[in-house]
Amino acid sequence: MITRRHFLRGAGVTLSLPFLESLAKAAPLPQPKRFAFIYTPNGYNQSAYLPKTTGANWELTPTLEPLAKLREHVAIVTGLDRQFVSGTGVHAQCGSCWLTSSAPQETLDGGFPTNTTLDQLIAREIGSNTLLPSLELSCNDFTDNKETRYYECVSWYGPGYAANVEKNPRAVFQRLFGKPDADATRSILDAVNADAKALNSRLGRSDQAKLGEYLESVRATERRIQMAEKIAGSLKPPTLAEPAASRSRDSITCGFRRN
């Protein structure tokens, strides 16, 4: 069986958000669809991993052996290898384009091959009923000069636009179940909204249209904060305790050293 520990070994996790039950009670929604991607850096030994047979009875290779009981539910997809292209570091081209299947030569983000990732495409489809359409987690706590977001992020909103990962379990807990401190943000939004209106009155018509984007964005952000507050108020307290402020290195140690 996969133990929790094994599960956590994947350094990058991205999943469509858990369904909010209370929201469902208020207005019945269809059964939620969830999707999770778990990234395993450094990969597997291919010769011990890849089944040589296809079809429902795919070969149980030594690495896949633990999945024997679940074989009928598991599909293995191969052939997604990507060729390394010089110009940026080797590792920067691993996780960052894992969920894109971008062509090796495609570099819409400086020299990097990032693009909208599959999980974000799915989240746009099925994540609209949740407060957060997707949640990006990582338990890689190793840092060095090479570990940029091209290493850290397997999930990207678009070329060069990373869905940054959250590494602190407590922050994740609070994002899911905590009450947002909307008041501080709202006070900032009030001020900048007034700034925008004052600026708007001094602008010509075409510039006003341009600044309209700003005013609309302020309104949308306010709406989102309201929704967050409403949901937080009606949320059932989770059965699990809030994690400690900072991770103890012993409980989750799954950073990978590369040297």
Binding site: F84, V85, S86, G87, T88, G89, V90, A92, P104, Q105, T107, D109, G110, G111, F112, D144, N145, K146, E147, T148, R149, Y150, Y157, G158, G160, Y161, A162, N164, D183, A184, T185, S187, I188, L189, D190, A191, V192, A194, D195, A196, A198, L199, R202, L203, G204, S206, D207, K210, L211, E213, Y214, E216, S217, V218, A220, T221, R224, N259
Partner: protein, 834 residues
């Protein structure tokens, strides 16, 4: 006075372009005098281009205007175009702009607002130069030799918030990022800006590094710890053994070994990157021990100044006399000198270590030192670090014989909550009279010390109303700089409102100020460049603040500084604009003209995305797995030409025909030019040594006109090529847009280029015979095709005569014959006049 132009137009154009024929939809018969022309000037732009490029009158037509007549008509159209618009009573300056700051401008604006020396966050538009010290515009010249090290693209470098990221902007047509109409704000982006502003103001690093920020947010009731005034550190003497801390630790390539015998090894080679960040943040440095020959007496404290304004010092107190000197038999890890025992054979050096002038409780957290090997000597070296808790750690290594060959890295980290307070360097097992060491690097725990320091107690009670007044004053000053013009009372009131709101909820003074500053950094007055001075629709002179903002973002891609703003406030900017501009050009911030403007104009930033096919262009890749590429070298060559013209105030014709170029060994090899003073050796097999050798750039005179300038330089030629071959389309379009400022029209008929094949020979030819040729005429541009003689990477290509591409084009008269005659594309008259 009726100009000569009308009879000429009559004779050459009206055959076809009159009311009856209207060839090409153009009727010029109505333009009988200049007033009529003034009323519809737009049409004359295309007339100008057609005449200029010899497309009109049609080349087949028997009678052609003389060259002189052609020039006269063109000059007349130019004159008409330059006249003030009768409807506006002035030259049309174009639409007023409202645009957001680009990501780069946002970074620079926050950076300058808080007086930071580092970037705020990492973004890919920042060109990967590891060091910009070469750019000293005030000197008026770049010299003939420069050090321009390039960072591997994508590598981290010291910034305020390494985790922060903002999405980039869409490029507008012509490749520029700062076009307002192409930039859009979405709710998601606004939230990003809001989160970024909150991350910035809550960054403990900002509090540490920015005097400006500290002065803004510190509660007036608390003592504001004044920064020491910067003291210049002179040369160290026996009476005053004071050094300036170096910012970089010895390069790894000078350190082949790491000591691992003994206690647990706590640090690895990554140390030098932490060191770089710490030096930038003022929480560490390196004692490089540079001096020709200097003896420090036993017990005499050595000071190594570091931190903001050199306000802190590492105090090293040797128990025995210490000698700082150069040894010809050793290979120093940096500089030309090292430190050793002064008395022969007394090869044990004991040092007491302390930090002076830091935060309360600040001490050395991590430490590294290099033991040097020496010709004809060898043996063991043992180093012990003692900790404030009383413990110690010992590491040992046997140094092999040979100067520089056995240099060894020793590194220690203090246990949690403790500091390194002493060092014992024991070379008694090392043969010879001296044990040699270099580069003592130290990192302090200043951030932790500041965080752990007890909250300072209020020096005096200040009534809330007075605090509010202080807040108002500070915000008013800050908003004027953040919004790049004085903030009116209403605006200041709004931000005092943020202050009041949070104060009512019981937040501390500094937290409240931070909230107000975060609001300012999210305001449209900050994020947008708006020109809202009096008057709408009509043409009006810019007010002084608008002018200051335009100047600053044009020359620096950064906000106006205090000198500029105060000139604007006193109304003296317009008169002193020349002096201001020169002052700004002499400021190192003007490097953004090259790194931001030139990089976008010439598409140099796209060089980083170029992926020449590794099989076809083997020379592009070197090193293990082909990881070492020419991207950086090509970028620097192009950038240095721009910088040379800018700093040395040379003619812009240098962009096309400079007669020199900047070369490092890699490019010398690519071009096959041997630079004097640069050994034309093969790439060094050691990646790090190779990188170091290639950081050196020499200004090299060019032997002939086949090379020189942007038209024949590696970077633009690579940018305008496809991965497998050159592209007549891309190169021609690049030339027309970038050099000739005649952007090609969008093709009206879609077509698909066949993949593969030698485009230089076939592509252009195929296009010429394609049925759509009428609308594609601009594509196989003769100048673009001429550029084919330089291959995709800028190696000069000899094309066999029968396979030579047709470069005999009509749209623009830059033909093969001309090129052959004159020897280079630079000499063509079109390039001279471009």
């Amino acid at each position: 006075m009726e100009p000569l132009a009308f009879p000429l137009l009559d004779a050459n154009c009206l055959d076809c372009h009159d009311a009856a024929d209207k060839k090409g939809g153009l009727d010029l018969s109505g333009f009988t005098n200049e007033n009529a022309v003034m009323k519809d000037r737009a049409i004359w732009r295309s007339v100008y281009e057609k005449i200029e490029s010899h497309q009109m009158p049609p080349p087949k037509r028997k009678s052609q205007p003389t060259a002189d007549e052609r020039r006269k008509v063109l000059a007349w159209i130019m004159d008409i175009a330059a006249r003030p618009d009768p409807a506006l009573g002035a030259c049309d300056p174009g639409k007023p702009m409202l645009r957001m700051l680009t990501r780069l401008e946002y970074n620079n604006t926050v950076r300058d607002l808080f007086g930071l020396e580092m970037d705020v966050f990492v973004f890919p538009d920042r060109l990967p130069l590891a060091n910009r010290a070469y750019y000293q515009p005030a000197k008026g010249g770049l010299g003939d030799e420069l050090q321009v090290p390039v960072r591997e693209y994508g590598l981290k470098y010291p910034v305020l918030l390494p985790e922060l990221g903002l999405p980039g902007e869409n490029r507008a047509e012509h490749g520029f990022r700062n076009r307002g109409e192409a930039m859009n704000l979405s709710p998601m982006l606004l939230e990003q800006y809001l989160a970024a502003a909150q991350d910035i103001v809550n960054s403990p690093k900002l509090l540490q590094l920015s005097d400006v920020f500290r002065a803004l947010v510190t509660d007036p009731a608390l003592p504001l710890k004044a920064r020491p005034v910067e003291v210049a550190v002179g040369e160290a003497t026996e009476e005053m053994p004071v050094w300036q801390a170096a910012k970089e630790f010895a390069p790894n390539l000078n350190l082949p070994f790491q000591a691992k015998l003994g206690d647990v090894v706590t640090l690895d080679y990554q140390f030098r990157f932490s060191m770089q960040t710490a030096a930038a943040e003022g929480s560490g440095g390196v004692w490089d021990a540079n001096a020709r020959s200097l003896v420090v007496k036993a017990g005499k404290p050595i000071r190594v100044k570091f931190g903001p304004n050199n306000g802190k010092a590492l105090v090293i107190t040797p128990r025995d006399p210490l000698w700082v000197a150069g040894f010809s038999t050793a290979g120093e890890t940096s500089g030309e000198s090292l430190f050793t025992n002064h008395e022969k054979l007394q090869k044990v050096i004991t040092l007491a270590l302390d930090i002076e002038g830091g935060a309360t409780g600040e001490g050395i957290n991590e430490l590294a030192v290099c033991a040097l090997s020496r010709d004809h000597e060898s043996g063991g070296v043992e180093i012990t670090a003692t900790f404030s808790g009383g413990g110690s750690a010992k590491l040992a290594h046997d140094l092999i014989e040979g100067g520089g060959r056995g240099n060894t890295f020793f590194a220690f980290r203090a246990p949690k909550g403790e500091h390194i307070v002493g060092l014992r360097l024991d070379g008694s097992k090392f043969s010879g009279n001296y044990a040699l060491f270099d580069d003592l690097a130290f990192l302090t725990d200043s951030a932790a010390a500041i965080a752990a320091a007890p909250a300072p107690t209020e020096v005096r009670k200040i009534p809330e109303a007075e605090k509010r007044d202080t807040a108002r004053q500070r915000l008013s000053g800050f908003l004027a700089r953040a919004f790049r013009r004085p903030a009116d009372a209403e605006t200041v009131d709004r931000y005092v409102g943020v202050f009041d709101h949070a104060r009512k909820r019981g937040a501390a003074f500094d937290a409240v100020m931070k909230a107000a500053i975060a609001a300012a950094l999210t305001s449209p007055d900050f994020l947008y460049i708006a020109e809202t001075g009096a008057g709408r629709g009509d043409v009006r002179p810019l007010d002084d603040f608008e002018l200051a903002t335009r100047l600053a973002y044009f020359l620096w891609a950064a906000p106006p500084d205090n000198a500029l703003l105060s000139a604007a406030a006193h109304g003296g900017l317009r008169d002193g604009i020349e002096a201001q501009t020169l002052r700004m050009l002499h400021d190192p911030r003007s490097r953004e003209l090259g790194e931001s403007f030139a990089a976008q104009w010439l598409r140099l930033d796209q060089i980083l995305t170029a992926k020449p096919d590794p099989k076809l262009f083997k020379g592009f890749y070197s090193g293990p797995q082909g990881k070492v590429t020419l991207h950086g070298s090509m970028l620097v060559e192009a950038l240095l030409l721009f910088d040379t013209v800018l700093v040395e105030n040379r003619s812009i014709l240098d962009f096309i025909d400079p007669g020199y170029t900047w070369l490092n060994p890699r490019l010398s090899r690519l071009y096959g030019i041997t630079a004097p003073g640069q050994a034309a050796t093969a790439a060094n097999s050691d990646v790090l040594i190779d990188a170091k050798l290639n950081a050196k750039w020499l200004r090299v005179p060019l032997p002939d006109k086949r090379r020189g300038g942007y038209l024949t330089m590696a970077a633009p030629l690579t940018v305008t090529s496809l991965p497998t071959r050159t592209s007549p389309v891309k190169r021609g379009a690049w030339l027309l847009e970038t050099i000739f400022n005649r952007p090609p029209q969008e093709p009206k008929v879609a077509f698909v280029l066949k993949e593969g094949g030698d485009a230089a020979a076939d592509g252009a030819g195929a296009l010429r015979t394609a049925p759509q040729r009428a609308c594609l005429l601009f594509l196989p541009h003769p100048a673009g095709s001429a550029g084919f003689r330089a291959g995709a990477l800028r190696r000069y290509r000899r094309v066999a005569r029968k396979r030579r591409p047709a470069t005999r084009g009509r749209p623009r008269r830059v033909g093969r014959q001309t090129l052959r005659r004159t020897g280079g594309i630079q000499s063509h008259p079109r390039c001279k006049s471009a």
